[in-house]
C-alpha cells in the first residue's frame, strides 16, 4: 500500500513548544498510587480511634447516655473467622460475615436501599433482634465447612478506574468484605469477558464507555449468562461528559457484599454525574438498573 504521501504530512512540534510544555508538566506533583490508600487507611484508623475514645468518655461521664444505651436493643452481627488462605487478597482482612438465617449483612440504622433486579424488597434491610446464645462465637475459631469467599470481580472503563478504585477502598474499609479484584479495559474487552463462555472468569460487574451491542448480547445469552441488567448515566470527567453503562447479571449467586458494593459504587457515581440535582443526589435509585431490552441494542 503506497501511503508515503500521508507519512509526509507529519511534522515535529517546535522545540520551544516542547520545552515550555515539559516545564509546565514538571511542575505537576507526582504521587505514586500505592501511597494514597495506605495513608487514607491510616487517617481513617486514627479518626475511628478518636471517635471511639470520645464515645467511651461520653459513656463514662453521662448517666443519661448510659441509660439510653441500656434501653436500646442492638443486634450484634456475627463475625466468624475464615481461613485467610481462602481469601485471595494482598493484605490480611477481617473475615466477612458468615451467612446465617436471620443475620443480615446490613448494619442496623442504615437507610433503605434501592431495589435491585431479583431482590425482594426488605430482604437486605437489617431486622433488629435481641442477641441470643447462638450469636456468641469466639473470633479465633474457624467456621466448619467454610466455603472460600470469592471477591467481587470488576472490569472498569479507563475513565472510571480511579472512582472504582476509591469505591473499592471504601467498601473494604471496615474489613467486612474481601477486596474486589479490579481490572481496567476497553468496552470490547470488558464485554467479551462479561459474556465469555467460562462462568468462573466472568466479572460480576463491568462499566463501559459504550453500550452493549446486539451481537454481544447474543453471545452473553448463548454462553448462559442469564438475564442482564443495565444502567446508564452521564458522567463528567476531566476530558468531557461521557455516557457510561454498567452491567450486572440478574439472579444467580452473588459474591459476598455485592449489594453493599453496588450501593457504595453508585453513590460515588451519582456524586460525579453530570449536574445532579439535590433530589438526585439524595435518591441514587433514580439511576438504578433496568432489565436489558435486546430489541433496543444496535447491531
Amino acid at each position: 500500500m503506497n501511503d508515503e504521501f500521508l507519512h509526509h504530512l507529519r511534522t515535529a512540534p517546535t522545540a520551544q513548544f516542547a520545552a515550555a510544555l515539559k516545564a509546565r508538566l514538571d511542575r505537576q506533583p507526582y504521587r505514586p498510587p500505592t501511597a494514597r490508600p495506605g495513608s487514607r487507611r491510616f487517617t481513617v484508623g486514627i479518626a475511628l480511634l478518636l471517635g471511639a475514645a470520645t464515645f467511651a468518655l461520653a459513656l463514662v461521664l453521662s448517666p443519661e447516655l448510659r441509660a439510653l444505651m441500656g434501653r436500646a436493643r442492638i443486634s450484634t452481627p456475627v463475625m466468624t473467622a475464615e481461613p485467610v488462605a481462602s481469601i485471595r487478597t494482598h493484605r490480611p482482612l477481617t473475615a466477612p460475615p458468615r451467612a446465617q438465617p436471620g443475620v443480615p449483612h446490613e448494619r442496623a440504622g442504615q437507610e433503605s436501599l434501592p431495589t435491585l433486579p431479583g431482590e425482594v424488597a426488605g430482604t437486605t434491610a437489617a431486622e433488629p433482634r435481641a442477641p441470643d446464645d447462638s450469636d456468641v462465637r469466639p473470633l479465633a475459631t474457624p467456621a466448619e465447612g467454610t466455603v472460600p469467599v470469592q471477591p467481587i470481580s470488576i472490569i472498569t472503563a479507563h475513565e472510571l478506574y480511579e472512582l472504582t478504585h476509591a469505591s473499592a477502598v471504601q467498601f473494604t474499609r471496615d474489613g467486612r468484605y474481601p477486596e474486589p479484584r479490579l481490572a481496567e479495559g476497553s468496552a470490547s474487552q470488558a464485554l467479551a469477558r462479561f459474556c465469555g463462555p467460562s462462568a468462573s472468569a466472568r466479572p460480576d460487574l463491568i462499566s463501559t464507555a459504550r453500550r452493549m451491542r446486539a451481537g454481544e448480547y447474543q453471545s452473553c445469552r448463548g454462553n448462559g449468562s442469564g438475564e442482564l441488567s443495565e444502567s446508564k448515566m452521564p458522567y463528567r470527567t476531566a476530558a468531557g461528559t461521557l455516557t457510561l453503562y454498567v452491567y450486572i447479571r440478574q439472579g444467580g449467586p452473588e459474591p459476598v457484599g455485592f449489594r453493599d458494593f453496588l450501593r457504595t459504587y453508585w453513590l460515588a457515581l451519582v456524586a460525579e454525574a453530570e449536574r445532579p440535582t439535590p433530589a438526585e443526589r439524595a435518591r441514587p435509585d433514580l439511576y438504578f438498573f433496568d432489565a436489558l431490552e435486546p430489541e433496543d441494542l444496535q447491531p
Binding site: 507529519r10 511534522t11 513548544f17 516542547a18 505514586p32 494482598h90 478504585h165 474486589p180 481490572a183
Partner: protein
Amino acid sequence: MGIEHAAPGPLRSGDSAADREEPDWNAVYRDQLPRLYNYVRFRLGGDVDAEDVTARTFEKAWQARARYRSDVAGFSAWLFGIARHVIADHVRARRSHLPLEAAQEVALGGTPEEEVAHGSNLARLARLTGNLPQRERELIALKYGAELNNRMIARLTGLSESNVGTILHRVVQRLREQW
C-alpha cells in the same frame, strides 16, 4: 487493592507492586509528544490550535501517569483517549464561535504558494477526508498522525486488528486516487 492478573490481552492491571521500576517519563514524553501533536493536527485538519489542544491533553493525562508506571502502553492509550475528548470539546467550542464554512476557509488557505506548503497539504487531506465517516477519519489520524500500529489502534477504537487494517487499506486507496 486486589488486582486481577489473569486478564488476557492488554487489560491493564494496576498498582499492586510498590517497588516496580519507575519508567523514564522524560523518554515517554519525548516519544509521545510528536505522536500526539500530529494526531491532533490530523484531526483538526491544520496547525491552528494544535499546540493548545496537545498541551491541554498532556496536562490532563500527566496527572494520572503514576497509574501507568507499570504499563507505558496503557499510558499511551490513556493519552489518546483523553485527546479524543479534548478535540471533541475543542471542535464543539469552535463551532459555537465560527460557522463551519468559515472554519473550512481558514483550513484551506488561499494562494497557490500556500497550497504547496506543508500545512496546506494537511488542509487538503482534511478536505478529502471531510466526507468520510468519523471512524475512518479517526483511523487515518491514529495511523499516520500518531503513527500507532494496528494493534494499538484496535485497542483504542474497539475494532478488531484485522478490521482496522482492512478499513485503512480501503480509505488510503481512495485518498491516493484523489490526491
